[in-house]
Amino acid sequence: MPGFRIEGISKDKLDDIHHATIEVLRNPGIKIESEEAAEIFHGAGSEIEKHNDGFIVKIPSSVVDDCVQLAPKRFVLYGRDPKYDHTVEPGSSCFTLFGENIYVNDPYTLEHRICTKNDLGVATRLADSLGEFAIIEKCLGSQDKPSETQSMHNYEAMVSNSGKHVLHGFFSGRNSEKIIEMAAACIGGMENFLKRPCVTTTVCPTSPLTLVKNCCDVIITCARSGVGICSITMPLSGTTAPATIAGTLIVQNAELLGSLVLTQLTAKNTPFIYGSVGTIMDLKLGSPAVAAPECGVLNVGTAKMAQYYGIPSWCGSGVSGSKLMDAQAAYEFSTNTAIALLAGSNVVYGCGSIESGLTFDFAKLVLDAEQLKQLQWLKNGMDVSEETMALETIQNVGPGGEYLTSTHTLQHMRSMSQSDLFDCMERDAWDKKTGGKDIVERAYEKARFHIENHQSMSLPEGAAETMKRIIKECEMADC
């Protein structure tokens, strides 16, 4: 079944974007703030020149073409538990949580407060329990832990509460090595980890046209260790990118191709995901308009450029600017998530977040998951076949009959869309079942039930101790 799709941009316009990007990579080039990375580019035939605290790298189109060819079209995001293995390939899609929240609405008291490592564990357990999330992405930071080792604490909190593949920013070269050691301990040792890498790192180019040192270090360390790279850029139209979407698409494409080239030059065939969480800057407020329609249009551009190159895409779409889990949050999530999904984005990101990506809300995650069920159904589209056209059944039932008792209905009713929290009951039944509570309140109840009752996959023996030891050693070294 082909499903519904947004085409959005014609092949010749995608060619135009690509050729303009190649021009940008030649002139002015991109800035690389790592000597090792600059050497890698230079060794493959890119022109480099020293520039303030880094290097300007000019990448020839032949290098870009070769590296695009080297990036795999299809790969598996392995879970610790093989039942959670998720294959990323053309046509596949999955959803993840928003990654950088620093506050949480407490699931019990609803107090808006700074989030902790414990919150990340609890939120991960909830996401682990929701079938709509094939993989786990860090949804909030362990704000109670030291900045230098925070990414390690984040990983520990997540892997201890989910058997799914983890997408997570490793932060630095040193932390990448350590998180890989931790992940290996959680999947039965390094040999097994290399066969089934159960974690992918996220890295962020800095718009415009810069790969900072930590970004380069993480790419190099992870690619050498067989860990996939999800490169996510965040151009803001009108400030760190041109005020037009096409111009923004070119800037982000140059940044993403730059990080793709570095990934493939470091280690051929390393899984690479082409990601953007770009949008416009509201030039009256001076703050990012995370859920603007331009974000949706840019997401289509992101997905289409990735398809043009034959590599998987990741689109940031579901975040809301609202401070509450309210009507604004629901509208904003639904519109841009639907568009990213229909454009064929392989990973659709942003669930559970409000306040422009500052606050994680448990009810939002539950309601987003509920809506994802509907959107996924929508994407699957209409199957037109002899079986679904049901001609024989229509003829058998005839005028004035009913389909309720037909065999055809019995065969197909379970594939009809269903919802759990979204309601279409008649009023008395609704009142009896919900006590007239608002859906957000019921979503918190569901979240609390899962937090208290869901059993996530336990860690192998000794893994928890190994992770604690690794973190402790780093913290001693940092002191």
């Binding site: 620093i102 930071g141 704000q143 900045s147 230098e148 925070q150 932060f171 800095t206 810069t210 900072v212 803001l236 009108g238 400030t239 760190t240 800057m281 030039l283 009256k284 407020l285 001076g286 703050s287 500052l358």
Partner: protein, 217 residues
């Protein structure tokens, strides 16, 4: 007294970002024997304040504000030149050093703050992003700054704002230089915990705090 129509036009050229006309107004005024300081005080300063106010009320776009600040700079330079050794009007409003702290490469918010400060007539030294604490202090001393503003977008880099406070304290500079902290994850509670003098929730709020510190109405 300056002709009312000139005063109105100075505000208009800033709001409409007409640089060519702004320079013409200043040059004509000086050529006709007017005191350029009067033009600054009665025309351009109220004009740029009105521009900042319109931005604050969502009536102007940020790029317009930045261009208005750029016009102010040009106009100020012309007037300073005409005064030839007279009082330097820029110094009157205070000097601010601004940086994104070490380890943090996000600076678009800081650039907005800098633009708004310039639009408000402050002398601003923007040290850029990923700036070490000792460099911030060194620069602040070099330009005799009244205020240091720092921002951090990442929670992992916020501790650098505390480092700055600690360093200012240990070097006995806290009384001499005020500090304002900002950035998406930064809160008033954080500011008071680390001992910063002020917290700015956004660019406009930053201007309010700075004016308070400098005793400007």
């Amino acid at each position: 007294m300056i002709d009312k129509s000139i005063i109105e036009e100075t505000a208009e050229v800033l709001i409409k970002v007409n640089k060519v006309r702004a320079i013409e107004i200043v040059k004509n005024f000086i050529n006709e024997g007017g005191n350029p300081l009067d033009l600054m005080e009665e025309g351009f300063i109220p004009g740029i304040n009105a521009t900042g106010d319109l931005f604050g009320r969502g009536k102007l776009f940020l790029p317009e504000l930045i261009q208005a600040a750029d016009i102010m700079k040009e106009v100020t330079d012309i007037i300073n030149e005409a005064l030839a050794g007279g009082s330097d009007i820029k110094k009157e409003r205070g000097t601010i050093v601004v940086a994104t702290v070490q380890g943090d490469v996000h600076d678009i918010g800081k650039c907005i703050v800098v633009s708004l400060m310039k639009a408000n007539g402050f002398t601003v030294h923007d040290l850029g992003r990923d700036v070490a604490t000792d460099k911030i202090i060194e620069s602040a001393l070099a330009v005799n700054a009244d205020i240091i503003g720092t921002c951090a977008l990442l929670t992992t880099t916020m501790p650098r704002q505390k480092d700055l406070e600690d360093a200012l304290k240990s070097e006995g500079l806290k009384d001499r230089i005020k500090t304002v902290v900002g950035g998406a994850p930064v809160t008033p509670r954080w500011a008071s915990r680390i001992g910063a003098d002020g917290y700015a929730k956004n660019a406009q709020d930053g201007i309010v705090k700075i004016k308070e510190f400098l005793g400007i109405e």
